[in-house]
Symmetry: C2
Subunit: 411 residues, 2 copies
């Protein structure tokens, strides 16, 4: 089935707001066996007309986001009714929901709000539990124009669209796509290995499986392997992938690596401290992005300067003079110092050269040492190099540190 996403929103085209709808919808529909084939962004207002007309001619499923609100530019609902030749009726159930919401939140119903309770005849209302504008679903048979497409109109704000999609749209999609009888899909998220390494190890064997579709995607510090197809092929592929990579697969769903680590720490009632030089607090920040981190996060130290490494973490000044701040001994001393000071089960340290300046021949920009000190275990340290811009460097270095701790907690 051919799927298109149409995003309306002048703010998207001005660059003020990042379009997160495409990524969200694509991830949601993938397990149902659907993929987005094309995506278009048009400004608010009349441009939606042409985009909708074209989409309804060539696609089986059309998602249109935005333009359902109360302002004069919000005309997706009206244009759709006009295109499909449908009358508009005021829906008292929708209106009652809007009024209840306004009362509960103590906001005034302006003159324009009741427009949102107008429903084209034949459309199914998708309730909006987080806003006033409901979504709308038009099955293929509704409307005067002959067409094969299922059309979904969805609200623009992500906090409204997302729950509406999972609660009300996905069940409909399962029915729609069930008709087409497509297979199952699985994803494996791997860190610490390059895409080419993964492909070299299992690529040919996976491609040899009949009825299996295979995809790779490389992001900074992560490779996603995706398989879909008929269940027996997917099961064979799963066995193959697990046999090779079980130890480096950190998730098969959307869970970020830092959340996996926080969960493992909480299960074991362990705690962690961080000592960061070049990553400047990103490691602590990622861990504390996870709700519930306070139970496992002891303390974080951002010791950028040599003086701070000595004063805050107790790193021997001679060690720094002898080996340099970016070195294996200093990484180890930072981890041990952090663990001692915060009295935690584990401590991670990162010291390196983020750039753009500060590199030497022996230790070029991008060089990093990551150490893990744990209660009752030998200290572990590794050297790596990420020649990238500053932000990507920080991401890759913290990814390495988190995976090091995940490995220890999983071992």
């Amino acid at each position: 089935m051919r799927v298109v996403v149409i995003n309306t929103g002048t703010e998207l085209l001005l660059g003020d707001v990042l379009n997160t709808h495409l990524s969200f919808i694509a991830q949601q529909i993938f397990p149902v066996g659907l993929r987005v084939e094309r995506q278009i962004t048009v400004p608010d207002g009349d441009a939606i007309r042409e985009a909708l007309r074209e989409a309804l001619e060539s696609f089986d499923i059309v998602f249109a986001t935005g333009g359902l609100g109360p302002t004069t530019d919000d005309i997706t609902r009206e244009i759709t009714a006009e295109l499909l030749g449908l009358e508009m009726r005021h829906d008292p159930v929708v209106m009652a929901a809007i009024e209840a919401r306004a009362a509960a939140r103590n906001f005034r119903l302006t003159d324009r709000i009741p427009r949102q309770a107008n429903v084209p005849v034949g459309a199914t209302v998708l309730p909006n539990d987080f806003g006033t504008a409901p979504g709308l679903y038009f099955p293929p048979h509704v409307g005067s124009a002959a067409r094969r497409s299922h059309l979904f109109l969805l609200p623009g704000p992500p906090r409204e669209l997302r729950p509406m999609f999972t609660t009300h749209v996905l069940p409909l999609l399962r029915e729609i796509s069930g008709e087409s009888g497509e297979g199952v899909t699985r994803r494996y998220r791997i860190t610490g290995l390059g895409e080419s390494h993964v492909e070299e190890a299992v690529g040919e064997q996976l491609l040899a499986l009949d009825g299996l579709e295979l995809g790779y995607c490389a992001m900074p510090g992560e490779v996603v392997v995706r398989i879909s197809g008929d269940p027996s092929a997917v099961n064979s592929a799963d066995a193959l992938i697990q046999a090779h990579f079980a130890h480096v697969i950190f998730a098969t769903d959307e869970t970020p690596l830092e959340e996996v680590v926080v969960r493992l720490l909480a299960e074991r009632r362990n705690t962690v401290a961080t000592a960061e030089s070049c990553t400047g607090g990103l490691l602590a920040n990622r861990l504390t992005n996870v709700a519930g981190a306070s139970a496992v996060f002891g303390a974080g130290y951002v010791t950028y300067s040599n003086a701070a490494k000595t004063e805050v973490l107790g790193v021997d000044r001679n060690l720094i003079d002898m080996h340099g701040a970016v070195s294996e001994p200093v990484a180890c001393a930072m981890a041990e110092g952090a663990r001692a000071r915060a009295a935690t089960t584990h401590a991670l340290s990162i010291t390196g050269i983020a750039g753009p300046s500060g590199g030497t021949e022996e230790k070029p920009v991008g060089t990093v040492f990551v150490a893990l000190a744990s209660n009752g275990a030998q200290i572990q340290v590794l050297r790596d190099r990420f020649p990238a811009d500053r932000i990507t460097f920080k991401q890759l270095a913290t990814q390495t540190a988190l995976e090091m701790l995940r490995q220890r907690l999983s071992g």
Copy 2:
């Protein structure tokens, strides 16, 4: 001039990667007087052909991203040459740059890499300082097909596209858009005030100016006021905006707030330390995202637990027992403790309740105290509330802290 952005990339349509190109390009071209009118995402491979053909017919400026790499799916270059009826020639200068890059980074040139040195005759090469595939610019007169459009082919990875765009594409766009004689535009980035507050203060007076176009955009912790039009109207508007908001405008370009702060600190040869509870290292991370931060950043302390506040920062345990960890006295003690320990000119502290749990009636989720201790000045502390998700809360709280320091440094 009509502008379209075509993004190729199956990973965008699968939802693995967020499309950040549209937002970046839109922001970059706005000051040149250009706006994106439409954006399309198509998968890798042949779909780019139809998208390019359509775009070249109806738009004046076409940006196409992705599909310039070495794999079999990367065919944007070849399809463009075919569409425009251009021969392809191997460019020895491009090849030498690729070889130099490979040698410096010690990677092997696979058989497919040299394809990236093929350049359609008449195209201008846009050097890629962060990857192997160069960008390409096709002026309207190049190629057999009659067209009016300027076509830019740009690499898919953001870390390659972004520097290429600012260094090589923007100067070309200034020439192109200069020809069309459009008006000037200015942006004012304000933090600490809501959009409605800004609109209330100057909105009507701005709307009364002939020949002025006005736009607002609210992002977490920031309001952007955008004016464009003929120079005299823009100058009048500028005077009005500066008269009201000069003290809260932190930038009129793309500079992030943290970079403004780091620059101000460096100019004054001042230093800063951070003491963070609920923001968990984000403040330190934002400051150290700025190249050159090492000259001004003393140390950062992430003291999530009460024990860490006492042990690391020397916050009196009685103070915590008496007022709670989320309180004005504790925020002050954290800032003073951090400044004393790191021996810096300034120290910022943040303590609050990020949620989702931990709130009380007196101090609901989202409550935050931010303090600033400075050498030779009275300590400053403020209480605010950001009832938002955890990630947004952290962003807003750190934005408040950075603005507090910016105000002090600008005063």
